[in-house]
């Protein structure tokens, strides 16, 4: 709850910017449509020339927090233009028994919730990171080529590269916000391994940590045209006692395009957060 209150402050400040944005309405070429011209979200997933599922498209969370004005703060802000995923608030909500924190990580989480997420990198407009990007209220555009899956994020117009050219992960990577990613196909599933994360990353608004020891495995599947499933296994022995898995669902956003969302341009949240 406290973490969500913190997010509400952040969103409350940035929402005016979002409200001013004009979503571009440009028909996406080549998408399946129903007889009335609407995108056919249940059509089969498109495929590339080599027969693999094509994940290209503009995506947003497919598992949003419900907007319910009656319930108030526990639910999504009903005036928000884009939804936020339940997992973006608490990534471990669906993990049986909760996240298996190391003792120091559990204590850190309590502190972060107590100070309402004041130290969340997002509050300072620092870069975002996988996997929380799959749940935050920003559009992401996937551009898939034969050797590269490119993820373009509206947040600070940032990008992430997933190499599909069978390259091995770096042995001693320079730590980064999104790590280094290499993927390979297993049937119709794209399996992506990542390492090289910098320390101190956040996985959700509560503040579940991700450390430089983390290795991620993502499994991408596209059941139909309109949806994407990303099953993520987090193996971070520094923060957690064992690996754990969560699934982010994505919904396609057809006939639109990414817009600028430059956080530092209008950052007003930090000055309002409690000084704990």
């Amino acid at each position: 709850m406290r973490a969500f209150v913190s997010f509400t402050i952040l969103l409350g400040v940035s929402a005016p910017l979002a409200a001013q944005m004009q979503w571009l309405h440009y028909p996406t070429a080549g998408i399946p449509r129903t007889a009335d011209g609407k995108p056919n979200l249940t059509a089969p997933a498109p495929r590339t020339r080599d027969g693999k599922p094509d994940f290209s498209g503009v995506w947003i969370t497919g598992n949003p927090v419900v907007c319910d004005p009656v319930k108030g703060l526990d639910q999504q802000d009903c005036d928000a233009e884009l939804p936020i995923a339940k997992e973006a608030i608490d990534i471990g909500r669906g993990v049986p028994g909760g996240l298996p924190f190391q003792p120091w990580a559990a204590e850190l989480l309590k502190q972060r919730v107590a100070n309402e997420g004041k130290d969340d990198p997002h509050v300072r407009c620092w870069p975002s990171n996988v996997p929380r990007d799959y749940g935050l209220p920003h559009l992401q555009k996937f551009v898939q080529t034969s050797g590269l899956l490119l993820i373009l994020n509206e947040w600070d117009a940032a990008y992430r590269q997933i190499f599909l050219d069978n390259r091995p992960l770096p042995v001693d990577p320079q730590p980064t916000w999104n790590g280094y990613s290499s993927g390979a196909w297993e049937g119709n599933t794209l399996v992506v391994h990542s390492n090289g994360f910098r320390d101190g990353l956040w996985l959700d608004l509560k503040g579940s940590p991700l450390t430089e020891a983390a290795k991620l495995t993502e499994r991408f599947r596209r059941p139909n045209y309109g949806s994407l499933e990303i099953e993520i296994t987090v193996d971070d022995p520094k923060a957690y006692t064992k690996p754990w898995t969560v699934t982010f669902r994505q919904a396609i956003m057809p006939d639109t395009e990414l817009l600028d969302e430059i956080c530092v341009e209008n950052e007003k949240s930090y000055q309002h957060l409690p000084d704990k």
């Binding site: 944005m21 004009q22 551009v143 940032a158 817009l259 600028d260």
Partner: protein
Amino acid sequence: MTNRNLRLLSPIALLLAPACTWAQWLHYSSPVAPRTNDGKVNVAAAAPRGQDGKPDLSGIWAPQPSTIPEILRSVPDAGSGVPAPLGSEPITKYFANIFADFKPDVVPLKPGTKLRSDDPALRCLPTGMPMFDTYPLQRKIVQTPGLVILLNENDNTFRQIFTDGRKLPEDPEPSWLGSSVGRWEEDALVVETAGLNNRSSLDLLGHTHRTLSPGQLRDHRLPDDSG
């Protein structure tokens, strides 16, 4: 070295220092680059082409560096000393002065224009256009049917150039990099950009959008420019 020269160099050092201290280039052999018999990349080979026969601009690129004397000549009132921070960076003179090749009397400045000294990039705001193209870090071009994407190490940011035949938006939401569409004129990709928010500087000297007439940026791969 004059005070003005020092003032130009300070932003360069500030902007580049973080990249210099933490950047480590990954060493991975490109499987598609043409090579000579000794295994080196053959930068003089013919430009690759896509399935549509057009040049394929894909690859990782850095601005072709200018010499130190060229950079200093592009800065008005420059001194004759070689600035140490510029010794090893691939800096193009256009990063310092976008009008480096213009004679002073044809530079399209409004009368009484003052160059800015508070580049928003020094406050971690986006560098905007055209510094997205001249910034002395690497950028990667990913060319796909209908879309060319530029990935810039600077700010880890991207730019999209739509080549699917769409027109520029009539009333675009102003942004740091604008909205871009491209078309081929033979082997040249002609890109038009509109909707810039005009908040960024054009170069380190401090020219701004309000002093520039609408123009075009050309991306044209030539065999001796590839690499």
